[in-house]
Symmetry: C2
Subunit: 105 residues, 2 copies
């Protein structure tokens, strides 16, 4: 069972769900960006500069959270997104490499 914020446990992560999450270009870009950043990097949703409204942002980050790709931690006023690198690497070894190396132009 996912926790109250919708984060699944590592063993609950579903590859199909992850593919669906990554099949949207904006979400892919977010993950590729986090995967490229230094280990443990935290970024606010807004900081990615995606060309959509606040509520759409919330929607996309919820999808990412629900897939298990990111975790969101409250930090003062804003909610920081963090890649679940260990969990992803253990569950789907090589996936992050593929994502980073095949990022669109």
């Amino acid at each position: 069972m996912p926790d109250a914020e919708g984060h699944p446990l590592p063993e609950e992560m579903d590859f199909q769900t992850i593919l669906k999450a990554l099949s949207d270009p904006m979400r892919y870009e977010v993950i590729a960006t986090l995967a490229t950043a230094e280990e443990g990097a935290k970024r606010s949703c807004a900081s990615f500069g995606l060309p959509v409204s606040k509520s759409t942002l919330t929607y996309h980050f919820r999808v990412l959270r629900g897939s298990g790709l990111i975790k969101q931690v409250d930090l003062g006023n804003s909610r920081m997104a963090q890649l679940r690198r260990q969990d992803i690497e253990r569950r789907f070894p090589g996936l992050l490499t593929l994502i980073v190396e095949n990022r669109a132009g």
Copy 2:
């Protein structure tokens, strides 16, 4: 440019497009099945026993073709689907392994 039947060249394959193709459970299943079968295996669209109409089948196989995951070759009356294993492996190393190992159910 993809050929007349819609097969992209290896260098035209786009990871995003492939993720989209794989994000549908039926298409995922087709690819996982082909990836598990022996090298060079050919299967007719119908042989997968997917629970949809003929025209829907055509649709899904067109998506797979367009992504570059499969090639379709005419063989007598029917059109055989074949995994583009070499091309996929070269372009996206490790992807097929992930697909096979994380097949649902």
